[in-house]
Amino acid sequence: MTDHDLTPDDFTDTARAVMNACAGAGGTAARMSLLAEAGLPGILAPEAAGGMDLPLGFAVPVLAAAGRGFLAAPLLETMLLARAFAGVDDAVAADLAAGTTCATIAWSGAFDGTTGLVGAAPLAAESDRVLVFRTDGTAVLVSKGEGVEVEAAATLEVDRPEDNIRLSKAAGPELPAERVAQLKAEAQVLRAALILGAAEDCLDRASAYAQERVQFGKPLSAYQAIQHSLARDCLAVETIRNSIARSLSPHCATPAAAARATFVGAARLGSRVAESAIQVHGGMGFTWDVPLHRHLRMVKTLAAQGGAADLLEAVAAELMAGEDSEAEEMKRAG
């Protein structure tokens, strides 16, 4: 089979199996090497960097499986970094794709060149390197050590806890501003993919529980209130799935706006599905051991990492400016 014959769906089974293996592995580094054995961190990186050079759509089932399977590794970050550094620093890209370097991204804040604190870096404590954004739009991949200290931070996440990074210098391989912009844009759809997997799992668990749990002599699923709530969750999941598909389709006239709406929508709808799954489980849903809260924590954390609230402001600004990106696209095409 050549790469050309591959479809994104071909990755679903492999990805789910790898995520299961990762759940039993000890530590982020061990998980990254399991992921690398299956070629997953390098799925988007060019072949020169040891990657598979596949389009973004191929990362979707992989990250959906990661979201579903509570993957405790910075896979989204590594995929994006391996792709972004290819052609800029092939050796770094190759290490990332091979899983020999474990890297993450500090999604929040920017370094002004002298000193400061950046944050929202998933699993930074267990990573070797961290990508830090700079105020001028570029970014630098720093190594932990002198001038780069990881500080524990309050974090909602259980599986991919966020850390802060205290910086007094920032040296390392650099990404130009346009690569950084592209990385941030691609992260939107990939976050939606993680959310999709988590939301699917919440819906599956809630549907299964509703069919098992008997009250008033009937399974919960026999009651219309429960059926309708689950049907709304199903609509939410399918809305996320279809919006991801649309924003990656070659027929989409406005991929950038579509990706933004996909992420903002997934952040809202994914939370809804997780919250509603907790409700359907009753008291059981409020326990630490039922992992629905871990999905909810991830969705809320991803929403913040991707700046869902700020993106809504960007949507508003475009509307106010009267920009119809789709119409503009059409005029150019016509």
């Binding site: 049907a231 279809n242 919006s243 649309r246 016509g334």
Partner: protein, 396 residues
């Protein structure tokens, strides 16, 4: 029955969207623009003339076979045209039941003679169709309908009553669902006809709706004789045909919706931002809520565009038609509620531009109440998703 009539895949035409856009920009009469203050509603003959012109320009019936006056093109072309139609503030079709429900059904179950007789007349606006399904005692529970058709030597004799029949008083043909046996037969023994509405014994009475219009009707059938030639499909095929009509109605009908919502939203924002008295409403007070509506519109486009891709790949719509129906009806109601709240804060003295947007948004708000009722209510869609997609009725 397959979806092929709907997803009939002719060649994709390059620049079909550019043609549609240029044509619509050049040809939409000012009196039909929904973003302008109008002193009266357009008449049915005016609308028919406009829609016949749209057809001659190739913007209606794109996927229908050329033999019946269609364009013989792909569903993707229909989507491209629909986007442009949505972006243009023009009236909804007075014959969407003909073009989007009766037409596809006739293509699926009609005889060649019926196709030749009915199909070109729909596109050329010589026949306006209505849909006679609902009855006083059979709404959500459509299989409880009672209108009876009895076969005699002179043809089929029909007795009964339909209600909420949109556009019946303006129509010339009715897609009528009747039963041949008794009510206990439920969805067995249902039969579809193409009844001429001027047949003796057909009595149509308009009902005034909450928006003040007189569009939907009661239709009484008193010993109405329908020739065998107007029977659609075989006598027992009615339920299969009816559910197919409903899944089309839910999923693909008015494919331009997302882009029309966007046109409505942009109209609201543009008009408010241009006036110092209302600028604050959109730029500050409701800024984020307006952006959230815009995100919903993109999510709706996701449903529509993915569905089109799936139909082109040869998949059936089936119960999945309930997903976009539920999404668009509620997203539009959310938009309409927000729009009404905004226009209700307009000052007493208003420019014509503000008057136009206020009138349009008030009308949209009222009309949107029906969107979670017709084509299957929200509760019915939720039930379909729960039982037929999630399969929650197992063991229940």
């Amino acid at each position: 029955m397959t979806q092929t009539a709907l997803a009939e895949t002719g060649p994709e035409t390059p620049n079909v969207a550019a043609h549609a856009r240029a044509w619509l920009d050049a040809n939409l009469p000012g009196t039909l623009r929904e973003d302008r203050l109008q002193d009266r509603a357009p008449t049915v003959p005016e609308l028919c003339e406009w829609e016949a012109k749209l057809h001659r320009a190739g913007l209606v019936g794109a996927t229908w076979p050329e033999r019946y006056g269609g364009g013989g093109r792909s569903l993707r072309d229909h989507l491209d045209i629909s986007r442009e139609i949505g972006r243009t503030p023009m009236p909804e079709s007075v014959n969407s039941i003909g073009k989007e429900l009766a037409g596809p059904i006739i293509m699926a179950v009609g005889t060649d003679a019926q196709k030749d007789a009915y199909l070109p007349a729909i596109l050329e606006m010589r026949d306006i169709w209505c849909q006679g399904f609902s009855e006083p005692n059979a709404g959500s529970d459509l299989a409880g309908l009672r209108t009876r058709a009895v076969q005699t030597s002179e043809g089929w004799v029909i007795n009964g009553q339909k209600i909420w029949t949109s556009g019946a008083s303006k129509s010339s043909r009715c897609l009528l669902l009747c039963r041949t046996g008794s009510v206990e037969d439920r969805h067995r023994g249902l039969v579809l006809f193409a009844v001429k509405t001027d047949t003796p014994g057909v009595d149509i009475r308009e009902i005034r709706s909450i928006d003040g219009a007189r569009h939907f009707c009661e239709v009484f059938f008193n010993n109405v004789v329908v020739p065998e030639a107007d029977l659609l499909g075989s006598p027992d095929e009615g339920w299969a045909a009816a559910t197919r009509v409903l899944s089309i109605e839910r999923a693909t009908n008015r494919m331009h919706r997302a882009w029309r919502f966007e046109n409505q939203l942009r109209h609201l924002v543009r008009a408010c931002a241009a006036d110092p008295a209302t600028r604050r409403l959109v730029e500050t007070d409701y800024r984020r809520q307006i952006a959230a509506v815009s995100v919903d519109i993109d999510l709706l486009k996701g449903h529509v565009e993915t569905l089109v891709g799936s139909l082109i790949d040869g998949n059936e719509i089936g119960p999945r038609g309930s997903l976009p129906k539920l999404f668009w009806s509620e997203a539009h109601q959310n938009f309409a509620a927000l729009a009404l709240e905004i226009v209700s804060q307009f000052p007493v003295t208003m420019s014509d531009d503000l008057k136009a947007v206020k009138q349009r948004m008030e009308d949209i708000y009222l009309k949107a109440r029906a969107e979670t009722i017709y084509a299957g209510t929200t509760e019915i869609q939720l039930g379909i998703i729960a039982k037929r997609i999630l399969r929650l009725n197992r063991g229940a």
